[in-house]
C-alpha cells in the first residue's frame, strides 16, 4: 500500500487495524510502564478488557502532569539503548515534558509527515523552506525529515532572521513554506516593507502551518497574501510532534487514524462526546514504541467529523483547534483565549508577559479588563508614554480579537501566581450569578 493510500483505506479495514494496534499498545504499556500498570489497576481494567475500539473509553486518561511527574524518562516503554532521539517541550510552566523515539518511531513520524506534505502533493521537484525552529522543539526536525523522505530539496532555515529568510526564499525559489502561521504573516509584512512583490518575486505554492492556534481570518490572510494553499498541520510532541493531523484541499483537518485514535470528551466530566460536539481532544497512539500515550488529554478544543470528506479520504477529520480547554472564555458571545491576548501583549514593548484577564458584568454586558504588569524600562519617560501604551494595547486587542477590553497597567508581581501555572483569568461574573 502506498503511503497515500493509507488515507483512503476502507473504514472496516482501518478499524480492524486500529483495534489490533490498540491491543498491542495497551498490552505493552501495561507490562512495560509501571505508571500505566498502576493507573489501570486503580481503574480496575486489564489489557484483556480491550475487545473492541469502544472499550478504549474504559481506560484512564493520561495528562501533561503525568509526564512531568515522571520526568524525564519515567513513561518510556523501552530501555534508553533503543531510544535514538529525545525532544522536549519548552517547560515554560514548570518541568519540561520529555519525549523519546525509537528508530521505528522516527519512521512512523516521517511517514505521517510525508502524508502531511501529500495534502499539497509536495514532490521531489519542490523546494521546501523550513522555518520551524530546529532543536528540542519537534517542529523543525519533523518537517525536515518528512520533506527529505519525499525527495524535495529542504532548506533548513530555522527561526529568526526574517530578512535573510526572505532573500533565501526568493533566491532559491522556495515553493513550499513551513512555519507558524504568525511567522508566515510576519514574513509577508516584512517582505512588503522591503519592497518585494509577494506573488511575483516568490514561487511559493503551498505552506504548512502549525504549532499554534490560528484564527480563520489569519489563515485566509496568509493564504491570500502569499497566494498559496494553506495546509494546517496539527500535532503535539507528547503524541509525536507535527504529523498527527493535516488539512486537505477542502480545509478539513484529517487525523492519521491508523497511528492515532482521536476522541472528544467533555473536559469537565471526562465523558466521551458524540461526533459533531465540541470538546477536548484526547489522543491515543497506536504505533509508538518509546512513549506510548493512552488517552492523552491534549486540552485542545475541537469537534470530530466522520461524515465523508469531498477529498475522498476515509480517515476522519477534526475542526481547526480553537484553543485550550482550560482557558476559553466567552465574553459577550465571543470566544476569547488567553493565548490570543498573550500574543497581542508579546508584540508591544513596555509591558512584561505577565497579565490577567478580568471579566465582570456591567448591566447585561460582560466587561473585559486586561491587567498587564509594566516593564521598568518604560518608566524613564513621562506619564503620557504609559497612557499611549495603554491605548495601543486596547487598539491591538480590538483589532486582533474583536473585543473591547480595558487595559490596566499594574505593578510588577502584583498579579496572582498559583503554583506552577500562572493564573490568567479572573471571572467575577459567577459571583453575581450572571451565568
Amino acid at each position: 500500500m502506498s503511503l497515500k493510500e493509507k488515507d483512503y483505506m476502507p473504514r472496516e479495514e482501518l478499524q480492524s487495524l486500529q483495534l489490533k494496534r490498540l491491543k498491542e499498545t495497551v498490552e505493552r504499556a501495561y507490562h512495560l510502564v509501571p505508571f500505566y500498570r498502576k493507573k489501570f489497576d486503580e481503574a480496575g481494567v486489564k489489557p484483556s478488557d480491550i475487545k473492541s475500539l469502544e472499550d478504549l473509553k474504559r481506560l484512564p486518561f493520561t495528562t501533561k502532569q503525568d509526564l512531568r511527574n515522571n520526568y524525564p524518562f519515567g513513561l518510556f516503554a523501552v530501555p534508553l539503548e533503543q531510544v535514538v532521539r529525545i525532544h522536549s517541550s519548552s517547560g515554560t510552566t514548570g518541568k519540561p515534558t520529555v519525549v523519546g523515539y525509537t528508530r521505528h518511531d522516527l519512521k512512523v513520524w516521517t511517514e505521517v509527515m510525508v502524508r502531511t506534505y501529500l495534502m499539497a502533493d509536495v514532490n521531489e521537484k519542490d523546494i521546501v523552506h523550513n522555518a520551524y525552529g530546529y532543536g528540542l522543539f519537534t517542529g523543525g526536525l519533523g518537517f525536515h525529515y518528512g520533506a527529505e523522505a519525499i525527495g524535495a530539496s529542504v532548506v533548513p532555515a530555522s527561526g529568526g532572521f526574517t530578512k535573510r529568510q526572505l532573500m533565501l526564499m526568493k533566491d532559491f525559489g522556495a515553493t513550499v513554506l513551513c512555519c507558524t502561521p504568525s511567522f508566515a504573516l510576519h514574513l509577508a509584512e516584512v517582505a512588503k516593507e522591503e519592497g518585494y512583490n509577494l506573488k511575483e518575486d516568490f514561487k511559493l505554492r503551498a505552506g504548512f502551518f502549525g504549532a499554534e492556534p490560528a484564527s480563520k481570518a489569519l489563515k485566509e490572510t496568509v493564504a491570500e497574501e502569499w497566494g498559496i494553499q494553506y495546509v494546517e498541520a496539527y500535532g503535539l510532541s507528547e503524541i509525536i510532534g507535527p504529523g498527527v493531523a493535516a488539512s486537505c484541499k477542502h480545509g478539513n483537518l484529517h487525523v492519521f487514524e491508523d497511528h492515532f485514535i482521536p476522541e472528544v470528551i467533555d473536559p469537565e466530566t471526562g465523558e466521551v462526546l458524540p461526533d459533531g460536539e465540541e470538546g477536548e481532544l484526547v489522543l491515543t497512539t497506536l504505533t509508538k514504541q518509546a512513549l506510548p500515550m493512552i488517552r492523552y488529554r491534549t486540552k485542545d478544543i475541537t469537534v470530530i467529523h466522520r461524515e465523508p470528506c469531498p477529498c475522498g479520504r476515509t480517515i476522519l477529520y477534526i475542526e481547526s483547534i480553537k484553543g485550550r480547554a482550560d482557558d476559553m472564555l466567552i465574553v459577550n458571545g465571543v470566544n476569547v483565549f488567553p493565548s490570543q491576548v498573550e500574543h497581542v501583549i508579546a508584540k508591544v514593548e513596555g509591558v512584561t508577559p505577565n497579565y490577567v484577564i478580568v471579566v465582570d458584568k456591567k448591566g447585561v454586558l460582560d466587561k473585559l479588563e486586561v491587567w498587564v504588569e509594566v516593564d521598568e524600562s518604560i518608566l524613564k519617560d513621562g506619564v503620557g508614554t504609559l497612557e499611549r501604551l495603554q491605548r495601543k494595547l486596547e487598539e491591538e486587542l480590538l483589532n486582533n480579537l474583536y473585543i473591547n477590553a480595558k487595559v490596566k497597567l499594574v505593578e510588577p508581581k502584583t498579579l496572582e501566581r498559583s503554583m506552577g501555572k500562572a493564573k490568567r483569568i479572573v471571572d467575577r461574573r459567577q459571583l453575581e450569578g450572571g451565568r
Binding site: E373, V374, G382, L386, L409, E411, P412
Partner: protein
C-alpha cells in the same frame, strides 16, 4: 560632564491604590534612605514617583525587592537664586537652543537658593549641560545629593 552632573533619579510605578505611596515611603525609611527631592506625576489610574535620594543604588534595590517597578534615569540639577526669574533664565536657555524639557521639578533650599531638576532627551543631555555651563548657570554635582 555627564559623569559629574548626571543625578541618578529613581522612577517608581505606582497604581492608584490606597497605601501604595506610604509603602514606598516606609520601605525607604526602613532602609534609612533619605529623600532629597520628589515629584509625582499621575493619571487617573497610576502615577510615576520620581525621587532623588542620598543612595540611589540602595533605594532601587530596596524598592525592587518590595516588588515595585523602579528604574534609574539621569537628570541634572541647576542651582538658581530663589527669586522671580530664577527658573525662567534656565528654561529660556534650554528653550532657545531647542532642547525639550520632558519634565522638571524643584525645591527651595536654605539661604535663598533653589535647586531645579531637569529631564531632557538622552541625546541632548551632554549638550544641555554644556550650554548651561557656558551661559554661566550653576550646575550641581551629583555627589552633593548623595552621602
Amino acid at each position: 560632564m555627564r559623569g559629574k552632573f548626571a543625578v541618578k533619579q529613581i522612577s517608581v510605578f505606582l497604581e492608584n491604590r490606597r497605601g501604595r505611596l506610604a509603602d514606598v515611603a516606609r520601605a525607604l525609611s526602613e532602609a534609612e534612605v533619605n529623600i532629597r527631592a520628589l515629584f509625582l506625576a499621575d493619571s487617573s489610574e497610576f502615577g510615576i514617583l520620581r525621587l532623588v535620594v542620598n543612595n540611589p543604588e540602595k533605594a532601587r534595590a530596596v524598592l525592587s525587592a518590595e516588588g515595585f517597578a523602579a528604574s534609574e534615569t539621569d537628570v541634572f540639577a541647576v542651582e538658581v537664586e530663589d527669586r522671580p526669574g530664577g527658573f525662567y533664565r534656565v528654561v529660556k536657555t534650554l528653550s532657545e537652543n531647542g532642547i525639550d524639557v520632558e519634565y522638571t521639578y524643584a525645591f527651595a533650599g536654605a539661604s535663598n537658593r533653589a535647586i531645579l531638576f531637569f529631564k531632557v532627551p538622552d541625546s541632548e543631555f551632554e549638550r544641555a549641560l554644556k550650554l548651561l555651563s557656558d551661559e554661566g548657570h550653576k550646575l550641581v554635582e551629583a555627589a552633593e545629593f548623595y552621602t
